[in-house]
Structure formats: structure tokens, C-alpha cells
């Protein structure tokens, strides 16, 4: 019964996705397309939830529907809003697209059925992950265990990716100048409502950070949520004030610090001649070592993500609009 319901929801959501993308092909107003993309991300987050990927759903909702949309709107402010329809190469795209689609369809034909418990991927590594997480790491969230311990090296790479994105955006746009920027006008309702909301958002961010071992969440999601609290503050009270709370100049350093926390946690195990990122070396009790390692590593990820996301937002919002005739 529940499985059938899952399938029905799955089909409905996929139909939504198709409609949204079809609409965004048609529409030339980039503002609308951006909003549609936000909805697309959000619906796909729901789909992830339906497919049991709670952590992924959380991340996609925070990043895809939240941050990316904000970023695209900031970029639209600095560029043009409408697409030039005359410059469309509809025919050029079709052969490549059809070829790719055909190749994908050809490949997918031999796949095991969706949800088939006998498929090879459910038998080779997954049972080991589930078993070893219970035995050696002893935290409920298997995704966090795999993310931070089994494949901690990937996650280290991921942290560096976000750090390098921050460096790249900073190189391209700089930190921005707030002095000449027009501040948002006073709006009493927003002011009153947003203050408690920001407190709630920050508390929620901390909850997600430290509850990642037990439920969905972790450093990455927490970083995005924490940053979104500050972004909200900056949107409502003006960037001058926001930059007084957290100056843009310390953000790159915080981001680097996050990467360093992760890396140094990994290097600690080298002292007792264990491999990089072997948390067992962190404490006399291997399970305790794993807990400590995951906590430290998640803190590093959270710090790096929070500061990078906020930095990227500052870079975009602090840039002046140039008008062309």
C-alpha cells in the first residue's frame, strides 16, 4: 500500500518536473525562468524525499531551491532580464540532444527495475555500509557515516570545491562596495517579523549541524541555513548593517579555516601512523574516535560552507549595476 502510494507520488512529481522544464524552455523572461528553476529544484527535493534520500532532499531544498535561486536573482539584477528570442538555434541542438537521449535510453534498457531489491548495487557494498556503521561508528544516520568516515576523502574534496568556488567568485567580482549602494527602505512589518525569524533560522542551523549524526542534515546543510539567516538580515536591514555583523573581509579566512579544520583532523591520525582521515586514532576508544572525527569534520564543512555562501552572496549583492543604452 505504502509502496504504491510512493509510486503514485513519484509519477506525479516527475510529471510536474517535465511541465516545469517545458515551460522554462518556452519562457523568455529570465526572472520567470529563474523562479521556475527554483520550483524545479524544490519539486526534485520532494522527489528525493519520496525516494528515501532525506539528506539529499534537504540539501537540494537548501541549495537548489534556496541559495541558487537567490544567486540567480542577484545575477539578474546585474544583467539583463529578457532573452533575445531571435538568437535561438533550435535546429542545431536537436541532433546532439536526440543522440544523447538515444544513448541514454539504450544504456538504461538493461538496468534492473527501479526499487528491485535484487539489483547488484544493493548487494555489493550497501549491506557492508549498513552493518559497519552499526558496529564501528555507531551513529544512526548511515549517510553521515559514509559521507564523513568511509568516503571522508570525497567530502574533503567537496569542501575544497566550495572553497575554490568562493575564491573564484571573489577573484571575479571582488568583495563589492556597499557605500554607494541604495539601502532598502524601512518596512516595519518586515523588521518586526524578521528579527525572531532570524533567531529561529540560526537555532535551526545549529540543530541541523549537531543533529546530523541522528537525522537528516549535517555540516553542509547547516552551513547553508546559517548563511541564509544572514542573507535574510542583509536583505531586510540593508547590507551596510549586515557587513557590520560579519565583515566581508574575514569570510575568506573563515572559509580557509574550515578547510584547514577538516584537513588537520585528517592529518592528526598520521601522528600515530594511521592513514589520513582514520578517526580511530583520535581517541583510545575507536568508536569514540569516530564520533569525535565526524564532529570535527562536520564542523569544518559547516564553517567553510557558511562563510563561502555568505561571501558569494556579498560579492554579488555588493556589485554595482552598470546600465547600457
Amino acid at each position: 500500500m505504502i509502496a504504491n502510494l510512493e509510486l503514485v507520488i513519484d509519477i506525479c512529481l516527475l510529471a510536474f518536473l517535465i511541465m516545469i522544464v517545458f515551460a522554462s524552455i518556452k519562457i523568455t523572461d529570465l526572472f520567470a525562468v529563474t523562479m521556475l528553476f527554483g520550483i524545479f529544484s524544490f519539486v526534485s527535493a520532494l522527489l528525493f524525499l519520496d525516494l528515501d534520500a532525506v539528506d539529499v532532499a534537504f540539501t537540494e531544498a537548501a541549495v537548489g531551491a534556496g541559495f541558487t535561486t537567490v544567486l540567480m536573482l542577484s545575477a539578474l539584477r546585474l544583467t539583463t532580464r529578457f532573452e533575445n528570442v531571435k538568437h535561438r538555434h533550435s535546429l542545431l541542438g536537436l541532433p546532439i540532444v536526440i543522440l544523447t537521449g538515444a544513448a541514454l535510453l539504450y544504456g538504461v534498457a538493461d538496468f534492473p527495475n527501479m526499487g528491485d531489491a535484487n539489483a547488484p548495487i544493493h548487494h555489493h557494498l550497501a549491506p557492508d555500509f549498513i552493518r559497519l556503521t552499526q558496529q564501528k561508528i555507531d551513529i544512526p544516520n548511515i549517510v553521515t557515516a559514509v559521507l564523513a568516515s568511509f568516503r571522508g576523502y570525497d567530502t574533503f574534496g567537496e569542501t575544497v570545491v566550495i572553497f575554490s568556488a568562493g575564491a573564484a567568485v571573489l577573484m571575479l567580482l571582488g568583495m563589492g562596495h556597499v557605500e554607494r549602494k541604495q539601502e532598502p527602505e524601512k518596512n516595519l512589518i518586515l523588521w518586526v517579523v524578521v528579527k525572531p525569524m532570524i533567531a529561529l533560522i540560526l537555532i535551526f542551523g545549529l540543530y541541523v549541524q549537531f543533529h546530523g549524526d541522528f537525522g537528516a542534515g549535517g555540516g553542509f546543510q547547516a552551513g547553508v541555513i546559517f548563511a541564509s539567516g544572514f542573507i535574510l538580515y542583509s536583505l531586510v536591514f540593508g547590507e551596510t548593517y549586515a557587513r557590520k555583523v560579519i565583515p566581508a573581509t574575514i569570510l575568506p579566512r573563515l572559509s580557509a579555516l574550515g578547510v584547514l579544520i577538516y584537513g588537520v583532523t585528517g592529518l592528526m591520525s598520521l601522528i600515530s601512523n594511521k592513514p589520513f582521515l582514520d578517526y580511530n586514532a583520535l581517541s583510545s576508544n575507536p568508536v569514540g574516535g569516530q564520533h569525535l572525527g565526524i564532529l570535527l569534520v562536520e564542523a569544518g564543512v559547516g564553517l567553510a560552507v557558511f562563510s563561502t555562501i555568505l561571501l558569494i552572496y556579498y560579492s554579488f549583492s555588493g556589485r554595482e549595476v552598470i546600465h547600457y543604452e
Binding site: 544504456g107 568516503r151 576523502y153 570525497d154 575564491a167 573564484a168
Partner: protein
């Protein structure tokens, strides 16, 4: 704590953490110093790793203490070791060279970030080479790519921005294709470890999913490697980026992509499947041949020397693909040798151009008239690099071309050997154009002897002399290459 056992991971982690340190200190001089030290460390590590590999064949390092298919394993054999040597060697020279070049070309506020990004690119490329996990390749590919986009966009011409954007679009599509390919393999086997995959793939090799995975991986990597129909991003990206960046990218970036191609084709799918069962060897040979000719001919028509060399890179990648397409032992040896030697010659040529850009702020052919007299040392190095590119005996380029031609004749493909010969003549033409302008045209009025920083000249000349050294004493490069080929052919079932 025994440092030696941890070298495989330290060679990646040290530059990554140094990048973070650069930002933390936020000081130009110390950023350069950190970059230099990290590069020297990597060079030291790679030489040690080569020595170890020659003794024990394969180094395996399980990150996090989790054994291979569960955790991520770093796996270094002779092929990786060769790539590490190319990468870290060029990184050292580029770091020495960077000090003055960056001061001149990059705005002050971006210099620290420039070194950071340079370190990240290097760490990403090294990370791709040492890892033994298919998904990990994707992660490190993105680390290096994102920093590369930013670095290219720092060129002083506005076209650098557009080139960088085009590269971003193409590169992201390529990376996503790789992701699709990895996913297809994963769904059929349930593992991501390359060694584990290579054992589990033969069972399911005869399914459409694996064939599609093969196609997507090849196209994805092909975009990154600038395989001929997918090369559009490369000329602009190389031509408009800052000199340091174009030198480093030309010497390393596409080679790493080709390394990934070899790794996927040979270690993962096996020669049987990838080169013979799929008629991929023929496709590679055709693409390679078109690449050699197309790249060389396009190079002749360029008025910007940097762009000319970028097209020449497309042609050189054609040589490597052609050699891989032979699917024979001499072919692979030639391919690996050419990866190594091409890094030497392109490094020399782009570095020399960087020096010219340092003085004249342009690399158009027209500014180079009479430069042989005003910048004799730079031009002499350029000449050595050019001769090596043509394949004159006594230079590194000759060795790899020689091996390629013998490999072709072994397979009795003499028309293709003829193509190589024609391409050498084409190379002679476009390098000859530069030489003619530089040595046989008078310098414009008022331009006298040009001074260039010593550190840049030293780096350039080390590169140039290594062309001659590895042309005369090819034991080292040849030894590692043939060891790598033996391992590759032996490992594959």
C-alpha cells in the same frame, strides 16, 4: 610517524591545505613562498614515489583506514608516477616563474587568490592521478576545473572571460557525462573502486548499460582532453589566459584528461573491451589523424602565436590518441612518452611566450619582429622548444615521434606514418614563421635589448634544457613509460 608511507595522500593534501593557508595569511609574498614550497614538496614526493613504484610495482593507500571497495583507495603504479612527475615538475618551474609574471599581469588584489587557485588546480590534477576511485576522479576533476575557469578569466583581454565561460559550459557538460558514465557502471556492478570494477565488469560487459557507460565516459573525458570535435574551448582558453596559467595548463591539464582516458580504457574496461570489442581503436585513430592534420593546418593560419600553439596542442593530442588507438605495446609506450615530452616542449614554448608578453604585453606575431636580437635568450629557448615540437633529432620530441612511427610501421600502417611526416612539415611551417619573424626581420626603431627577470629566465631554461636532456638520455622517461605499459598490459585480463 613515517612520512614515506603517507606520501600518496600528502602529495594531494599538502597543496590543498597550502591553498587554504594562502588565503589565511593573505599576503602576496608568503602566498608565493607557500606555493613554491608546496610545489617542491610535491616534486620531492613524486620522485620518491617513482623510486618506490619501481621496486614494489603498486602502492596502495586506504584513506580513512577502510579497505578498498568500502573506502577510497589511492593507487599508484608506474603510469600515475609518470603523471605525477610531469605535474609536479612543471608545477615547480611554473611556481618559480610565477613570481614576476604574476606581479606584472595580475591585479594586486587578486594575486593571493591567484596563487590559491593555482595550488588548487595543481592539487586537483594530482588528486585525479593518484586516486583509485572512479567517483573521486570526478570530485578532483571539479576542484581543478573550477579553479581553472577562474584563472583563465584573469587574462587582461575581455575575450578571456568569454573563453572561460565557454570552457565552463563545455567542461561542466563533460563532467556530467563522466558522472553519468560512472553511475551506469555503478548500477551494474555496485562498486566505485577502479580495481574492483575491473574485476566485476567482465561479468556484465555484454550489456547495453556498460557500452553506454563507456561512450559517456569517453565523450566526457574527450571534452576535457580536447579531442578533436570537442576541442573548441581550448584555443581561446589558452590564448587569452595569463602566461603562468597557459603554461601550466598547456603542460599538464589535457594530459591529465588523457591519463583518465587511458585509465578508464585500459585499467577499467580492459583492452579487449574498449579497444577491440568496441571498434574504439579505429575511432581513436581516425580522430587522432584528423586532429593532427586539422590542428596543424589551423595553427598555420593564426596571427597570435599563443593561439597558434594552442592549435598545435590539439594536434599533439591527436598524436597521443593515434598512438593509443594502435592498441599495441609500442603504441602505448609512444603515447606515454609523448605525454611526457609534450609537457616539456609546450611548457618551454608557452613560457617563452610569457616572457615576450611580459615585455610587449602581446603575443601577436607582429610584435615579435627582430626579437631574436633584442631578447636572445628567450628566443633561443623558444627555438629549442620549437625544434623539439618539430621532432628534430637530439630533442625530446624526436624520441616520441620516433617511437610513434616505429609503432605505426610495426602495425604496417605506413600511410599514417606518412601523415606524421606531413604533420612535422606543417609544424616546421608554423614554427618557421615565428622564427623567420624573430630572427630575420629587423626590430622596430627604438627597441633595444630587453631586460627580463632572472627567475623567469631560469625557469624557462630549465624547461628548455630538459628538452635536450630527455632527447639525449631518454632512459628515465622511457624506463617509466615501458614499466607503466607492462603494468597496464599485465593488469588487464
Amino acid at each position: 610517524m613515517n612520512l614515506m608511507t603517507h606520501l600518496p595522500v600528502l602529495i594531494v593534501v599538502v597543496p590543498l591545505l597550502s591553498a587554504a593557508l594562502c588565503v589565511l595569511f593573505n599576503n602576496r609574498k608568503s602566498a608565493w613562498l607557500i606555493t613554491l614550497l608546496a610545489s617542491f614538496f610535491c616534486f620531492y614526493a613524486s620522485i620518491n614515489l617513482i623510486q618506490i613504484v619501481q621496486e614494489v610495482d603498486v602502492i596502495i593507500y586506504s584513506v580513512g583506514g577502510w579497505e578498498a571497495p568500502l573506502g577510497i583507495e589511492l593507487r599508484i603504479d608506474a603510469l600515475n608516477a609518470l603523471m605525477l612527475l610531469v605535474l609536479s615538475g612543471s608545477a615547480v618551474l611554473v611556481s618559480i616563474y610565477a613570481l614576476k609574471s604574476v606581479e606584472k599581469e595580475i591585479p594586486v588584489q587578486n594575486q593571493v587568490l591567484f596563487y590559491t587557485a593555482l595550488l588548487l588546480v595543481k592539487a586537483g590534477l594530482i588528486g585525479i592521478c593518484v586516486t583509485g576511485d572512479a567517483f573521486n576522479i570526478f570530485v578532483f576533476l571539479e576542484i581543478s576545473s573550477i579553479s581553472t575557469y577562474a584563472l583563465i578569466s584573469l587574462g587582461h583581454d575581455r575575450r578571456a572571460l568569454h573563453a572561460s565561460y565557454q570552457y565552463l559550459i563545455m567542461g561542466t557538460i563533460g563532467a556530467t557525462f563522466i558522472l553519468i558514465g560512472i553511475g551506469f557502471m555503478y548500477v551494474m556492478t555496485g562498486t566505485l573502486n577502479i580495481q574492483d570494477l575491473s574485476q566485476r565488469l567482465p561479468v556484465v560487459a555484454d550489456t547495453s548499460a556498460i557500452r553506454a557507460a563507456f561512450a559517456f565516459l569517453t565523450i566526457g573525458v574527450g571534452i576535457k582532453a580536447a579531442m578533436l570535435p570537442l576541442h573548441q574551448w581550448l584555443p581561446n582558453a589558452y590564448a587569452y589566459s595569463p602566461s603562468v596559467v597557459s603554461t601550466f595548463l598547456a603542460a599538464t591539464a589535457t594530459k591529465v584528461a588523457i591519463y583518465v582516458l587511458i585509465r578508464f580504457q585500459l585499467s577499467l574496461f580492459g583492452i579487449e573491451f574498449s579497444l577491440l570489442q568496441m571498434p574504439f581503436n579505429k575511432i581513436l585513430m581516425i580522430l587522432g589523424t584528423i586532429g593532427i592534420l586539422g590542428g596543424s593546418v589551423s595553427a598555420i593560419y593564426q596571427s597570435n602565436v599563443k593561439r597558434m600553439l594552442a592549435y598545435s596542442s590539439v594536434a599533439q593530442i591527436g598524436y597521443i590518441l593515434l598512438a593509443i588507438g594502435l592498441a599495441s605495446e609500442p603504441g602505448f609506450t609512444a603515447a606515454l612518452l609523448h605525454i611526457f615530452n609534450h609537457a616539456l616542449m609546450k611548457g618551454t614554448l608557452f613560457m617563452a611566450l610569457g616572457l615576450i608578453a611580459f615585455r610587449f604585453a602581446s603575443t601577436e606575431l607582429s610584435v615579435m619582429s627582430g626579437i631574436g636580437k633584442t631578447m636572445p635568450l628567450t628566443m633561443a629557448a623558444f627555438l629549442i622548444g620549437g625544434l623539439s615540437l618539430i621532432g628534430v633529432p637530439g630533442t625530446a620530441g624526436f624520441i616520441s615521434k620516433w617511437y610513434l612511427v616505429t609503432a605505426l610501421l610495426d602495425a604496417s600502417l605506413w600511410p599514417l606514418a606518412l601523415v606524421i611526416l606531413i604533420a612535422s612539415v606543417l609544424t616546421l611551417i608554423y614554427i618557421g614563421r615565428v622564427i623567420e619573424v624573430a630572427y630575420f626581420q629587423p626590430a622596430p626603431e627604438g627597441i633595444t635589448q630587453q631586460k627580463v627577470p632572472k627567475s623567469m629566465l631560469v625557469a624557462l631554461w630549465i624547461f628548455a634544457l630538459s628538452n635536450i636532456y630527455f632527447g639525449l638520455y631518454s632512459d628515465i622517461s622511457l624506463g617509466i613509460s615501458s614499466l607503466a605499459v607492462n603494468q597496464l598490459m599485465g593488469v588487464t585480463p
